[in-house]
Amino acid sequence: MSALQVVFVAALTALLLGVVLFSAFTVRAALVVRPTTARGSWLVRIGRASNRDVQRWAFVAHRATGVAVFAFLLLHVFDVALFTLSPARFDDVHELYGTAPMRVFECLLFFAILFHTFNGLRLVLLDVAEIRLSTARRLLHVAVALTAVAGTAASVVILKPVVA
């Protein structure tokens, strides 16, 4: 592994760690104001795994995916910008994108983008139109379903070269 590749992997790892920390912070923010000693406390705090609280879970997921996509985008701007310095270095770093672990990461990233997009569109819709609570929840189900279908299809395409 070249030095540059090591730097890239380190940056990516730091970025993923940052996303995890940020998600934890989002959950904590609620807990700081409203401590509870209920069993499985932070899960309970966000909401039960029931349809009643499904939008609350969507809020957390939306934040986490948003930060993840944004952070990756920053990194990606730098690795693409390498081309202006030297095409060889660009090729060096971009070799990584073809490796199996990186392809798995790309699949996850794609799921994140899809969810953030579909849920974002749902939120825009909620903002501009009169939508009932039950419909809002159903729309979320749709967003999740679309994410799952499109994400799975894309994953097949992404992973095919390494699986085969």
Partner: protein, 227 residues
Amino acid sequence: MTALAVEIERSDSEARRHFTVEVGEPTMVLDVLLALQRTDASLAFRYSCRVAMCGTCTIRVDGRPVLACRTPVLLGADGLLLEPLAGLPVVRDLIVDTTPFSTAWRSVEPWFTPRADAEPRVLAADDPSREAIESGLDCISCGACWTACDLAGAEHRFLGPAALNRAMTLAADARDGARDRRLRLVSQEGGVTRCHYIHGCSGACPKGIDPAASIRRLRRWSIGAGR
């Protein structure tokens, strides 16, 4: 009858926290509290009407804000944890001081103001504003949404879901003469723009109101009204 383990968050750290109570069918959480009061007469909790109208028996059951009178105890549950509402100062045990909640409510000027021209005087059954008003009307000020919201009560000066929902029902009312003033009030810092779409309120409301939708609606109406 089944034995149920109940843990209660007490203000006095010396006071008894753990209880066992015999419950039959049907038992609401309020019935559990009334039974436990006979074991420990110093237990402080609040209730009035027993039929989900007064909104004073709101507590957290296993971390979730609910009306004690409207929450059945499931037989076979492995125990209950009862805590006071969050985001409000605790008076004692399960009783909280709801002043921050009512201060927020008051600050949207929640009173109806008849229009100067008194037209329309009444709303017919098919009046378009009725549906909007009725969607937010049966609020009992129980504070469940306040606790379920990550912003209300957390030093963000957010008016909270209930007060904004009340403002919406007034702004939707064609009979009300203070629409512009109220829309300006809710457009200020701490008003509609503070909502993060967390939807905790809509998941917690025991009356099935969707305060988040009320806030969105109010936000649409207030565009331009804040200037």
